[in-house]
């Protein structure tokens, strides 16, 4: 067994893998499964679970070597990759990791996130969905909301209340929800873009075996924190192939008749902001690779949301009469999430969600202020009070 991996050895392994697996001569899924088994899916995961136990930074080497081969369509399975997988790795049993991670990574099984509820948004820990133990099973009742991909998902990561008699953070348990189980009903929620990327999910007497519990009973808040931290990195910190700045710059270059001095000044400002955000992300990844994760991660999503919103706003304004038009209001249910897909109007409207989904910008500022800067919390009415006794 190899102890340390470096750029050369990862590249060598990827080339050896390609020599034995010709993507042109194989079924796409077979190829992806073989890539997972070769440890080239996410090299920082352990051996046997799609990785090599290598530094996270070396994933780029594997991706570069395997460029042009079939990918797992990350836009379709972002929640699985960015949130479910790191949580399963951190808290799942070996059996759970073996069962879930491979089809998650290959895209055979889509995941969704059953966290928010009509009465529990920013205050997620106050959620009311109940899970009651009956022998080896849990019976789940409640309603979840803003659930992207619920209509295509095979599994959901679910936080439910298992003990209403203790303060809200302590009575939660984390489960994997079988989206095909009886009692799971998914209804589309139409968004301001016209389409329904997300859903409401009604859970009525859903029976989940105890083997689908992730982490200890009552430890769900801690497990959920892992998911949420990874969500913010997934939304804000990942290197982008196509950026909002790139899209808006394309419009600027191809439509010289739309240019004004005012827009030019604003656009240059945002170009600098994009470049600073890119450099911040580069530095963050360097820190991660060196084993010193910095607090910068909490800020990336905040910066990303602001930038997306300002840039997409400028683009619509720049387009004048074309900005008055909208490509398509048809009520559809897309199976991918693409922040910068379609046209300017769509981008503008979709970007509004960037400061709400995965933790509002206001909550992120609280997190930075309290956890990074060490500022005191606001006085709270809900501390040390059993969840069932909270004022509603």
């Amino acid at each position: 067994m190899r102890v340390t991996w470096d750029e050369a050895s990862v590249a060598e392994r990827a080339r050896a893998f390609l020599a034995e697996h010709d993507p042109a001569a194989m079924d796409r899924l077979e190829f992806l499964r073989a890539r997972f088994d070769a440890g080239l899916a996410w090299v920082h995961f352990p051996e046997g679970l799609g990785g090599l136990g290598a530094p996270r930074g070396l994933q780029a080497v594997a991706d570069r070597e395997l460029k042009g081969t079939p990918d797992n369509q990350p836009g379709r399975i972002g929640i699985g990759l960015g949130m479910a997988a790191p949580t399963i790795l951190a808290f799942g049993t070996e059996e759970q990791s073996k069962r879930f991670l491979r089809p998650l990574w290959t895209g055979e099984e889509v995941w969704c996130q059953l966290f928010s509820e009509p009465g529990a948004g920013s205050d997620l820990a106050t959620l009311a969905t109940r899970a009651v133990r009956e022998g080896d099973e849990w019976v789940v009742d409640g309603q979840k909301v803003w659930t992207s991909s619920a209509h295509t998902a095979r599994w959901g990561i679910l936080v439910a209340r298992t003990d209403p008699g203790v303060p809200k953070h302590r009575g939660l348990t984390y489960f994997v929800c079988d989206m095909h189980a009886p009692g799971v009903e998914v209804r589309p929620l139409r968004q301001i873009t016209g389409e329904a990327e997300f859903n409401e999910v009604f859970l009525t007497g859903v029976r989940l075996p105890d083997a689908l519990r992730l982490g200890e009973v009552g430890d769900g808040w801690r497990v959920a924190q892992t998911t949420l931290m990874n969500e913010r990195v997934a939304i804000g910190g990942a290197p982008a192939r196509r950026t909002m700045m790139g899209v808006v710059a394309e419009t600027w270059r191809s439509r010289p008749e739309l240019r004004t001095h005012d827009l030019h000044q604003r656009l240059l400002r945002l170009w600098v902001d994009s470049e600073v955000m890119r450099l911040t992300a580069v530095r963050l990844r360097e820190q991660l690779a060196a084993g010193h994760p910095g607090p910068e991660g909490s800020g990336m999503k905040l910066a990303f949301a602001r930038l997306h919103q300002e840039l997409s706003g400028i683009e619509v304004e720049m387009l004048r009469e074309d900005g008055l038009a909208y490509d398509d209001w048809t009520f559809r249910r897309p199976d991918t999430v693409d922040f910068i897909g379609r046209e300017a109007g769509y981008r503008y409207l979709r970007a509004k969600g960037n400061s709400i989904e995965g933790g509002t910008s206001e909550i992120l500022r609280n997190i930075i202020a309290e956890r990074v800067l060490g500022l005191p919390a606001e006085p709270r009415a809900d501390k040390d009070v059993a969840w069932k006794d909270l004022p509603r």
Binding site: L279, N366, A369
Partner: protein
């Protein structure tokens, strides 16, 4: 290339910080600023000597063969100079590091790379590296690297046929502390424009008149040369002045690290204050209206660190004499466009969130506000740096 700090850089930082903690507390700096009206300068000669000679910061950009500590293999570079500037910014230290060890030194390094004037430049660099002399570039601190010919305009200093310099330069930093002034001059010739860089030793023929300055810890002065004996360091046909351009560009890139240091002090000090200060029976730092402002400021400072480190890293990779490549020029412009504004914002938030105390002369916040605002004008404004990015970003201006 890395945007993180290396171990060697952290050791240098620790040495500088320790010295500044001992000799350059905010109250000591305030006393210097107060007495500058009588003394004519806030510069702390003792502190500068300790930094320049004992720690060796004067020679960070000067090659080993000329007595400094810079080298391509494992020696010092712009990265180390940037770390020193972070610490000096954090302390608003009244020392002529930027004017002597960065601006004047870079002008000499570029001149030394030219065939004509190598010897004079090399001799001067040796004296600067050893801490035997302090220099400044006699160019306005408000000069923009995007108009580098401007210091040589017709109203500037002139080199006469008798080898002396005559003329006046305004807005110069570090002149009171300088033993040698490097002044861009027009050569007295009848036909075409011909410019040069002259070294003038401080003497009775050089009058340095301090100007009441916005920045109390790095004031500007007017420098008048009256037939001052001079040595020609470099000359050029036309109006291309590479020594000035390289100095202003690299100075701008490193200034971003000073701005980062200023911003960090303001953020840290403000966070500490709002944790202590109580109103409505709770720390004011527990109110979201305050917390959110500080979270946003923290994010700006995080970006400033990435941008300043990137500029320093690319400057470190460039040849010592120049020319600076396009990548480095973009990194400098991005760093200035961002960091200048962050330092000002941090200092303004520092004053505001300290309430009435922040408005007093007694509290050091104003020293940082004044430094940040002056730095914003220095070596190209954020707007000038942004305009320079239109080309590299391929975002052409309206026709």
């Amino acid at each position: 290339m890395t945007l993180l700090y290396t171990e060697v850089e952290e050791e240098l930082r620790a040495a500088v910080r320790e010295l500044l903690a001992d000799k350059c507390s905010p109250s000591a700096v305030l006393d210097r600023a107060d007495s500058a009206a009588a003394a004519g300068t806030p510069y702390d000669a003792e502190l500068w000597k300790a930094l320049a000679r004992d720690i060796g910061v004067a020679g960070l950009l000067i090659p080993e063969e000329l007595g400094g500590s810079a080298s391509r293999e494992g020696g010092a570079s712009a990265r180390e100079a940037a770390v020193v500037l972070e610490e000096l910014g954090r302390a608003v230290a009244p020392v002529p590091f930027l004017s002597s060890a960065v601006l004047a030194t870079q002008a000499l390094l570029t001149a030394a790379g030219q065939e004509a004037g190598g010897n004079v430049a090399e001799e001067l660099l040796g004296r600067l590296a050893a801490g035997e002399a302090t220099a400044t570039l006699a160019v306005s601190f408000a000069a923009s690297p995007y108009a580098p010919a401007a210091p040589c305009h017709e109203d500037g200093a002139t080199l006469g046929e008798d080898g002396t310099v005559t003329g006046t330069v305004t807005g110069v930093i570090g002149a009171e502390a300088a033993d040698v002034l490097l002044v861009p001059v027009r050569l007295a010739r009848k036909t075409e424009p011909c410019v040069g860089l002259c070294a003038v030793e401080a003497s009775a023929a050089v009058r340095v008149t301090p100007v009441p300055s916005l920045d109390l810890t790095r004031p500007i002065a007017t420098v008048s040369f009256a037939s001052a004996p001079a040595r020609v360091v470099a000359r050029a046909e036309g109006l291309e002045v590479p020594w000035v351009w390289e100095a202003l560009m690299r100075g701008a890139g490193l200034l971003a690290s000073e701005q980062l240091g200023v911003a960090e002090w303001c953020l840290t000090t403000t966070v500490a204050y709002v944790k202590e200060r109580r109103q409505f029976a709770r720390p004011v730092g527990s109110f979201q209206a305050v917390k959110h402002r500080l979270a946003d400021l923290w994010l700006e400072v995080v970006g400033a660190r990435a941008a300043a480190r990137n500029a320093a890293a690319l400057l470190a990779e460039a040849p010592a004499a120049g020319p600076l490549g396009d990548d480095a020029a973009v990194a400098v412009a991005v760093a200035q466009a961002h960091c200048a504004a962050v330092a000002v914002h941090a200092a303004e938030e520092c004053v505001q969130l300290h309430g009435g105390i922040g408005m007093t002369w007694e509290h050091p916040a104003h020293l940082y506000l004044k430094r940040a605002k002056a730095d914003q004008i220095a070596l190209g404004t954020p707007g000038e740096h942004r305009d320079a990015l239109a080309g590299p970003a391929d975002l052409p201006a309206p026709v």
